[in-house]
C-alpha cells in the first residue's frame, strides 16, 4: 500500500489527521478534565447549522461552520455562567436547534448539496488543499493560546471558585476555552464528521489521563494517541475500503476499552 503515499489526496489525509490530532489532544485534555463533554457535543452538532448556512450563502461550508460554532460556544458559555441550572436541557436544545437550522438552510439552497454526507460522517480522503491550510492556521492559534495561558487555564479548569477569589478573569478565560473547543470541532468535521467529533475529541485525552500526572504530559500523550488512531484508521479504511471517519472512531473506542480493561486488571492486583 506504500505507493499510495505518493498520491496527493493520501498525503493530504495524513496531514489532516496529524493536524486534527494535535488540536484534539490539547483541547480534548481540557474537555475531559473540566467535564465539558456534553457542552462540546452540543457545540459540534450546532456546527451543522453553520454548514447549512455556508451552503446557503455559497461560501465554504467549513467557514460557515467556524463562525457558527464560535457564536454558539459564546452563547452557551454565557448561559452557563449565568443560568447555572438545567444546563443539560439547554445543551440538548442547542444541539437539536443547530441541526434543524442546518437542515432548513440545505433545503432552501437551490440544487443538490453534493458532499453533505462527508460533513456529517467525515471523509478524510477528500480533504482539499485549502482546508489543510485552514486547519494549519487553527492549530497554530490553538497551540499559541494554550502555551500563553497554560497556568490560567489550569487554575480555571481545576478550581474555578479559587480562580475567582484570586481575581483571575475566570469568565473570559472560560469563554476563550469554549471558543477553542469550537475551533477544534470545526477542524475535526473534515476528519470524522459532525456526528463522531466528540469521540475523537475525548477518547485520546481520556486514555492519556490514565497514565499522566500533569496537564502538559496528558496533552502530549493524547496528541500521540490521536495521531496513532487516525493514521491506523486511515490505513485500515483504505485497505478495507470502508468509511475513514467511522474506522478512526472504532479504533479509538477499542483502544479506550482496552485501556480501561488493563486499568481494571491492574487495580485488582
Amino acid at each position: 500500500m506504500f505507493e499510495v503515499l505518493g498520491l496527493e489526496f493520501f498525503r493530504n489525509a495524513l496531514i489532516a489527521g496529524v493536524l486534527a490530532s494535535i488540536a484534539c489532544g490539547i483541547i480534548g485534555t481540557y474537555v475531559v478534565v473540566r467535564r465539558m463533554v456534553s457542552v462540546s457535543g452540543g457545540i459540534s452538532h450546532a456546527a451543522f447549522g453553520g454548514i447549512g448556512l455556508g451552503y446557503f450563502l455559497g461560501i465554504d461550508p467549513l467557514l460557515g461552520a467556524a463562525a457558527f460554532t464560535v457564536a454558539t460556544a459564546l452563547g452557551m458559555g454565557a448561559l452557563q455562567l449565568r443560568a447555572r441550572q438545567q444546563m443539560d436541557t439547554i445543551i440538548g436544545a442547542v444541539w437539536a436547534a443547530g441541526m434543524a437550522i442546518g437542515i432548513l438552510f440545505v433545503y432552501l439552497t437551490p440544487g443538490f448539496a453534493p458532499d453533505l454526507f462527508s460533513y456529517l460522517f467525515g471523509n478524510i480522503l477528500l480533504v482539499p488543499g485549502g482546508d489543510i491550510l485552514l486547519m494549519g492556521v487553527l492549530v497554530v492559534i490553538i497551540v499559541a493560546v494554550v502555551a500563553l495561558l497554560y497556568r490560567e487555564f489550569q487554575a480555571v479548569t481545576f478550581d474555578p471558585d479559587y480562580a475567582t477569589v484570586m481575581n483571575l478573569p475566570v469568565e473570559r478565560l472560560s469563554l476563550l476555552l469554549l471558543v477553542l473547543v469550537a475551533l477544534t470541532v470545526v477542524m475535526l468535521i473534515r476528519v470524522v464528521g459532525i456526528i463522531l467529533v466528540i469521540a475523537l475529541l475525548t477518547l485520546p485525552a481520556a486514555i492519556s489521563r490514565l497514565y499522566t500526572t500533569r496537564i502538559w504530559s496528558m496533552m502530549l500523550l493524547a496528541v500521540a494517541l490521536g495521531i496513532a488512531f487516525t493514521l491506523t484508521g486511515i490505513g485500515l479504511s483504505y485497505i478495507a475500503n470502508v468509511p475513514s471517519g467511522a474506522t478512526i472512531i472504532l479504533v479509538s473506542t477499542l483502544a479506550y476499552a482496552g485501556a480501561l480493561g488493563v486499568e481494571r486488571l491492574r487495580q485488582d492486583d
Partner: protein, 255 residues
C-alpha cells in the same frame, strides 16, 4: 482597636424566592479564630460565597481590609470543602500550591518567578508535605490532601484563612492534627471556620456565631443555649448528641 479584616454589613441574600441570609453582620479581627456553626441549609456556604465574592448579595456590603471589590479578595486564603474538590485532576502538589500565587502576578502572560517558587516551597515545608511535591494530588492520603489545600491558601500571603467544613471527611487523628496546625497558623492570620459539626468546635476558638438565616453572635467562645435554640430550634436533640460541655456556660451544666 485594630480594623477588622472581614466586615460583613447588613447582608441579605434571596435565592429563588427564599431568604437565605437575613441582616447578617460579622466583623472578624486580625487575632480572631472565629467559628460559624449552624445546621445544614442554614446559609453557611452562602455566607462564605458572599465573603469570597462568588455570590453577589441582594443587599449589604462586604469589605476585606476595608476595601470592596475583587482585588481585596486576594488577601483571603480560601480552603474549600473537601467534598467539592476534584482530586482526579492531573495536577501535582507543587503545581497546585504554586497556582495559589497567580492572583499576585500582574504581568501578562502570567509566569512564576523565583519568589513564587520560594514561597511555594515554604508553604509545602510549613505543611510538612515538601517530600510529596511531585505527587499527583490523587495519590495522597486525606490528611495530606487537606494540608496541600491549606498550603495553596498560604502562598498568597492571606490576612485571613477561610475554611469550609474542614473536618467533615477526615478521621479523628487527622482532625486533631489539623487543629494543631490551625493553632499555629492563627498567630499569623485571622481564621474563620465554618462547620455544621458542633462536636468539633475546639477550645481554641475565640468567638462563635450560630447561623440559621440570621446570625446569632456572642462575643465569647461559648455557645449559649439561646444561640443554639435560635439557630437550631431543637436544643434538646443537640445536647443529647453530645456537645462537649466545655463550650457551654456554667448554668447549662448545672441544669
Amino acid at each position: 482597636m485594630t480594623a477588622p479584616v472581614i466586615e460583613v454589613e447588613d447582608v441579605w441574600v434571596r435565592l429563588r424566592g427564599h431568604t437565605v441570609l437575613e441582616e447578617v453582620n460579622v466583623a472578624v479581627y486580625p487575632d480572631d479564630f472565629y467559628a460559624i456553626i449552624g445546621p445544614n441549609g442554614g446559609g453557611k456556604t452562602t455566607l462564605l460565597k458572599v465573603i469570597l465574592g462568588l455570590l453577589r448579595p441582594t443587599r449589604g456590603t462586604v469589605r476585606i481590609l476595608g476595601e470592596t471589590g475583587g482585588a481585596a479578595r486576594r488577601k483571603i486564603g480560601y480552603v474549600p470543602q473537601f467534598r467539592t474538590f476534584d482530586f482526579e485532576y492531573p495536577i501535582t502538589v507543587q503545581e497546585m500550591v504554586l497556582s495559589g500565587r497567580l492572583g499576585h502576578i500582574t504581568r501578562i502572560p502570567r509566569r512564576y518567578d523565583e519568589e513564587d517558587h520560594t514561597r511555594a516551597q515554604e508553604a509545602l515545608e510549613t505543611m510538612g508535605i515538601a517530600g510529596l511535591a511531585d505527587r499527583q494530588i490523587r495519590n495522597l492520603s486525606g490528611g495530606e490532601q487537606q494540608r496541600a489545600i491549606i498550603a495553596r491558601a498560604l502562598v498568597g500571603d492571606p490576612k485571613v484563612l477561610l475554611l469550609d467544613e474542614p473536618t467533615v471527611y477526615v478521621d479523628a487523628p487527622t482532625a486533631a492534627q489539623f487543629y494543631h496546625i490551625l493553632d499555629w497558623l492563627r498567630r499569623q492570620m485571622a481564621i474563620v471556620l465554618v462547620t455544621h459539626d458542633i462536636g468539633v468546635i475546639p477550645e481554641h476558638v475565640t468567638r462563635v456565631a450560630c447561623l440559621n438565616r440570621r446570625l446569632y453572635t456572642h462575643d465569647t467562645n461559648e455557645i449559649t443555649p439561646d444561640m443554639i435554640e435560635a439557630a437550631y430550634h431543637c436544643p434538646v436533640d443537640l445536647i443529647a448528641h453530645g456537645i462537649p460541655h466545655r463550650v457551654f456556660s456554667e448554668h447549662v451544666e448545672e441544669e
